[in-house]
Symmetry: C2
Subunit: 293 residues, 2 copies
């Protein structure tokens, strides 16, 4: 009996393609199917793409004669090239470094657009083995105390009048704290920070690859200013710091700098034991359309 794949793992299905057709040097290529179930604002969510690229990087060694690759993404830097859409995608890999404790893989996701291969995301991934990391803890950000998930606000609690930005909002069970949804009631006095619980609704437990999805799963913090438009990611770097324990994750996103048409967003993710498991930062374009309710 095989357990059916979770919705997330289905979305991350990679099919190796004949490596002799790979254009890049040294690494295998994969195909994937992007589903509009993960679309938001008409484009496939950037976190899903990050997870897909992270997984392709960690598997690059399996299908290559040119070097082994460590299993877990430690640092992944993605530069977004154009909006990804539903349909087939191709992921090329190149093993840039195959070292003793870490490897570096370059990954490139492209789709055919007007019959022409068009770059969607390019990323560099440093992989390592999370289980082999050791060393004492000198400093770590304390996990914020949040009200329990059932006292927080789910997507299904969205007030009437807010148009759903897309089916992606149903792919994760997000619970924003009461202090993080004041904007939905027209209160823009506490700008720049969201706190939330997050998990997959079908019970799929978190792992290092899924953290790459999680770090880009919340609405832009510009919502707290009443800026509800899409804030397209220019660049996103995520660090996975530890293998997450099962259960709810909690996270905080914030911005310190929202000026001149760009903002940075900083993300911290803790597992159910309170351990910091991921950090991420992205540079995003300011929302194109700003509307106050």
């Amino acid at each position: 009996m095989t357990t059916p794949l979770s919705e997330f793992d289905t979305a991350l299905t990679l099919t190796p393609v004949d490596s002799t057709s790979a254009r890049s040097g040294g690494g295998p290529a994969f195909t994937a199917q992007l589903s509009d179930r993960w679309a938001i604002g008409g484009a496939v969510n950037g976190g899903l793409l990050l997870a897909l690229l992270g997984k392709a990087a960690s598997r690059a060694g399996e299908h290559s004669a040119s070097g082994s690759v460590h299993p877990d993404p430690l640092a992944i830097s993605a530069h977004y090239l154009s909006a990804s859409v539903r349909g087939p995608a191709r992921i090329e890999t190149e093993i840039v470094r195959s070292g003793r404790t870490t490897s570096v893989v370059s990954v490139h996701l492209e789709q055919k657009q007007d019959d022409k291969p068009t770059g969607r995301v390019r990323a560099l991934v440093t992989t390592g083995d999370l289980d082999a990391l050791d060393g004492p803890e000198f400093i770590t950000p304390p996990c914020p105390e949040l009200p329990p998930p059932d006292q927080c606000y789910a997507t299904t609690d969205t007030p009437q009048g807010f148009k759903s930005p897309g089916p992606f909002t149903e792919r994760l069970d997000v619970r924003l704290t009461p202090g993080s949804v004041a904007w939905a009631l027209g209160d823009f006095s506490a700008p720049g920070t969201f706190n939330a619980w997050i998990r997959f609704p079908d019970g799929r437990e978190p792992d290092p690859i899924s953290l790459l999805q999680i770090v880009d799963a919340l609405p832009p913090v510009t919502y707290t200013w009443g800026h509800f438009g899409w804030a397209p990611t220019v660049e996103l770097t995520a660090y996975v710091r530890a293998r997450p324990a099962p259960g709810w994750l909690s996270m905080q996103i914030s911005t310190s700098t929202y000026a001149r048409g760009f903002l940075e967003e900083d993300v911290q993710v803790w597992d159910s034991t309170g351990e910091l498991v991921a950090q991420a930062r992205q540079l995003a374009s300011a929302p194109r359309f700003t509307q106050k309710t």
Copy 2:
């Protein structure tokens, strides 16, 4: 009469090489000379390499038929592959995206080691035009009030017994605030943050490319724990948020997470008018050798 190049600009000299010999698709290649004047702990400083790659990316369009490139680095993500040493280096570029308001360039710096091309740093660079950015300022981190530079501590004030980590420490005029040097006197009670003034000693004024050097110019914040060993950078992402005004820059570096053998370091840089001009974050390996004085 030509003005002699500043020391920094001399170190960033790029010579285009015949692009027909470029192995990568679409972009030109350059050669550079790495000098041990920028060495620290035996390796060339990672910030100098970041600036070199940022400059190569911004110039990739000039020497290419495959697309134009915007002039300023907005986001650069570098993954460090092996330690760079004095001597010739080759930089390959690939224009990944040539868009209306931003471009993306992949850059790879390699050196010959045992007569074999060996990767040193690979980076992705999103470039844009800082002068064309506009939009109001919604939030920005306040520039910390620091004691004036002459009340801060320069490298030349280093107490006897501290061995200089290398000539790189003379390439920048760094002034750590009194609160940032307690570790030098054996006080490890305020770990994790440095505040400093910084400028080039020969009067070379800051510009966007030089900010890429600046973000990796201070000692590791692990010094505040008495951990004086080298903390090799695994990955570094920098955002340039504005063109800096002439004069002293001020900066703050801190870590929120130093655990399991890795630490992240966050950097903010303000110009002499108090505007935030750069943000950076790096993942570094914990110092290999820990010694308390």
